[in-house]
Symmetry: C2
Subunit: 142 residues, 2 copies
């Protein structure tokens, strides 16, 4: 069974390669999500939210691995579904971004760690009651 | 441009049709995510987390709308990207679930509001530092 999607738009960011992405600086770096013209009306009302969830297709990922060595924990090898590694069976990135403003089909955000040109699949409002705010635990604490 | 994914598994839940889904009760209802055998190793280490993010393909959705009238706000019509409506250009559900336990390829969770048989695309650990815990605002307050 195959599932097929068409991107609603693309990322415009200062990151041209994975080495350019500074995770420490993404919160201060402004990126844009530029939607195809036909989806413009879908943005109505999003500006009333402070944050959004962005789903994007990591089109530069060519390898699907079942395990990963997470950063900052080099001696741990865990299953890929216990990590945020991009090298996963379906390379979909899920990122919570802060909404800055929008101008037509261009949505300015901070907190996006995606490369320039990455295809965007979906945008949803970030809703704490849905997206939780409890504490989570795991290997990140080690 | 088209993007193609293959499901990593399927939902096994007590919900056979949208009318069966009680959003008030999903936190107490146990569902299972049953992975294909080949992805089993990808679950290693996930049990150490309390919550996970599940991405699933809403395969029963046949309509892609650009606007939606959110529940509990019948006089408001907003863009689909400002809602969690299933009737969206790429019908991907993003749900935060509480992890209960797992047995081989079956992951028992609560908080999943998906129909029995829904194809699952990805599972990621829920990490507060990534998934935020700030307050968000929007039409939900109206």
């Amino acid at each position: 069974m195959e599932i097929t999607y068409t991107p609603i738009g693309h990322v415009r960011s200062p990151y041209d390669s994975p080495a350019d992405v500074s995770h420490e600086e993404t919160d201060e770096t402004t990126s844009e999500i530029v939607l195809e013209e036909e989806y413009k009306r879908g943005l109505d009302g999003l500006a009333e939210f402070s944050h959004a969830v962005v789903l994007a297709h990591l089109d530069e990922v060519e390898e699907a691995l079942l395990t990963s060595r997470p950063p900052h924990a080099t001696d741990v090898e865990v299953g890929v579904f216990a990590t945020r590694s991009p090298f996963r069976p379906n390379p979909i990135a899920q990122t919570v971004v802060e909404l800055r403003d929008h101008d037509g089909t261009a949505l300015r955000v901070t907190g996006l760690d995606l490369l320039d040109g990455t295809p965007v699949l979906d945008i949803k409002p970030y809703v704490p009651a849905v997206d939780r705010d409890e504490l989570a635990t795991g290997w990140l604490e080690e």
